[in-house]
């Protein structure tokens, strides 16, 4: 059984669809981090905190382990060595996508994203990683 793991890039366009299928959608704490870190209003932050608690209670949050960080870093390293990404880019380039990909890869989830380019790169290092564009998944 495979379930969708959403990338942050999906949120601007697919809020209604996410709400409709909330039961079946999984989130990475990386996505929650990105949403929270970019929040401005205190009231939004409080709602995210309630959402975090509810997601955790419902077992819908995936948190990368120490080994996930290690494997994700090695995947990005190999992309650099193969010159598939510029070696002069910051070490954090692709970090969050790689962590989300690793979480999906090890747990038989598939990534739903608007950012196919980055995840396609990561698929070269994680051949069994499944990724689908948000438009394909939701429409």
């Amino acid at each position: 059984m495979a379930f969708p793991l959403l990338d942050t890039s999906v949120f601007p366009t697919y809020k209604k669809q996410i709400e409709k299928r909330f039961e079946f959608i999984y989130f990475s704490t990386i996505v929650l981090y990105e949403l929270t870190a970019s929040t401005i209003d205190q009231s939004t932050l409080q709602k995210y905190e309630r959402w975090k608690i509810a997601l955790n209670k419902a077992d819908r949050l995936l948190t990368p382990s120490m080994n996930d960080y290690w494997v994700a870093a090695n995947a990005v390293r190999r992309l650099r060595l193969l010159k598939l990404i510029n070696k002069n880019l910051a070490a954090t380039v692709l970090q969050n996508a790689a962590l989300i990909a690793r979480s999906a890869y090890t747990r038989d989830y598939f990534v739903v994203t608007e950012n196919i380019k980055d995840f396609s790169l990561l698929q070269k290092m994680m051949p069994k990683l499944e990724v689908i564009p948000a438009a394909e998944f939701f429409n």
Binding site: L35, I40, D41, T44, K47, R50, W51, A54, K128
Partner: protein, 68 residues
């Protein structure tokens, strides 16, 4: 839920004749049918999800999208 078209394909094989990636083996949102009765945890999640997404939408309107 079973994946469409049987077993998972290797990613490298997910190309159709047009050179475009083939996603037909992956489920779509419509394949996940909402439950008629929700547990207490899922009711809480439904409410929290709705509120969080609404708050996000309001922030986008006020400040623009900044996380992607």
């Amino acid at each position: 839920m079973e994946k469409k078209n049987g077993n998972k394909k290797k990613t490298g094989e997910n190309q159709n004749g047009n050179g475009l990636r083939d996603y037909s083996h992956l489920p779509r949102a419509k394949d996940f049918k909402p439950s008629k009765r929700l547990s207490k945890e899922m009711q809480e999640l439904k409410k929290a999800t709705r509120e969080a997404l609404k708050a996000l939408e309001e922030e986008e309107k006020k400040y623009g999208v900044s996380f992607t």
